[in-house]
Amino acid sequence: MPKRTPLYQQHLALGARCIDFGGWEMPVQYTGIVAEHQAVRTAAGVFDISHMGEIWVGGAHASGFLNQTLTNNIELLAVGESQYTLMCNEAGGVIDDLYVYRIANEAFLLMVNASRISADLHWLEYQASNHGEDRSVKVENQSEQTGAIAVQGSATPLFIGELFHGDGLISVKRPGDLVKNQVDAWNFGTGVVYVARTGYTGEEGFEIIAPNEQIVALWDAVLEIGRPHGIVPAGLGARDTLRLEMGYPLYGHELSEEVSPIEAGLGYFVKVDKGKFVGRSALMKQKDERPKKKLVAFKMRDKSPPPRQGYEVYNNLEARKDLKSIASAGLKPQDADPVIGTVTSGTQSPSLSCGIGMAQVHIDRAREGTAIDISIRGKRYPATVCKKPLHKKQ
């Protein structure tokens, strides 16, 4: 029996088609992926992200503990701020990528991937038990009792304020005053909800994290006040095309315990100078030595089927005239034309009207502008390595 979010009945009433997503019955689309995608790019969309995990970390030394468990520097956060960060194993492999919100000086809310909640908890508790000098760190999984929605699109700042009365409980007055990565709390119904200026679409937007009991009322209210601004409910299908156009990673595609943040191009979020943290020596070594492979974004050059996860990447056929000499040197064809990478995610970009994707490729083929081939059902289609984001705001 798949798990359902508090919004399941809303999804059905809105005509959603649901799919299994990591054990959750989630809406993949309501009217259509492209229409929902365009609504977010031009106006507004609301996503149910209640499947995601919420883990609270608190206690007198919570910040010190998190700084030794996560790769970004938590001391860069004031109360009411958040950051993207990664949790790595000792070898530098990614256990999860997440957002950490500093709600109080020593109280942090971690928003993690649905599929990784138990792995994260296991790792956090293991690290907490090793955090020798102090047993006061408390890790609490609130995922079952907590839901969330993402309200995304350039129109969202125009109406988000209508959701709440009064000033924020942390620092700002109105939700629209929040700057990127800032978070505050408001009373809503009988509960306290957190509103963060964060998202996974590349557009302006907010993520609202709330107790399950408040989620249906929040969702209905967002659709109501957003209606004059063109808001639509948007499913996981549009969430995927939107994040891919931005080149944002998705755990299980771009990230895994076998891939490091350095190889995934997320070195910016690994602060090796902050002091000791799990995976530091492995990650420092990679930063110094240049990794063997790198995650890149790419665009298909011509009309082609959309690239998909698992497709093989080769050198571009036209650009490999040099391979003739390799062949004449007596090497086998597979030596002359080896697989140089693998597609980690791909789709047809609704904004660019062409195939786009991300791929893990050999470091020598990772430079912007490099011509590559994607093998789709045995046929090669040319593509170009591109700078992220693939879609630039108008």
């Binding site: 259509g32 992926i33 299908g237 009309k303 959309p306 047809q348 609704p350 059902r377």
Partner: protein, 128 residues
Amino acid sequence: MSNIPDSLRYAKSHEWVRVEGDTATIGITDHAQAELTDVVFVELPETGRVLAVGDNCAVVESVKTASDLYAPVAGTVLEINAALADTPELANDSPFGEGWFFKLQIDGEPDTAHLLDAAGYAAEIGEA
């Protein structure tokens, strides 16, 4: 409810067939296009290719997934719908009309015993 024209025959794998003389026209059903949504690419067989019933002969790609198409009847590929190359959305907008996929030259009476009529297909997709 999807559109299921009475005049056509249907495969359980959601292809439709229209037989006229020794030609069979093949496409995907309204139900299939609605399930797929946003068709963005169609890969069609080469003309001249000889297909047996059930041969994997085309691929229809939506934003989300790639789905295989199987030959509902046997024959030789006579013509493909070239318009799908530039406007794959025809498969969504007009699945039984301009969004047809390919035509087969059939030898004699086609074997359609394994195919469903409109009522049978409606039952198959739970719309009876």
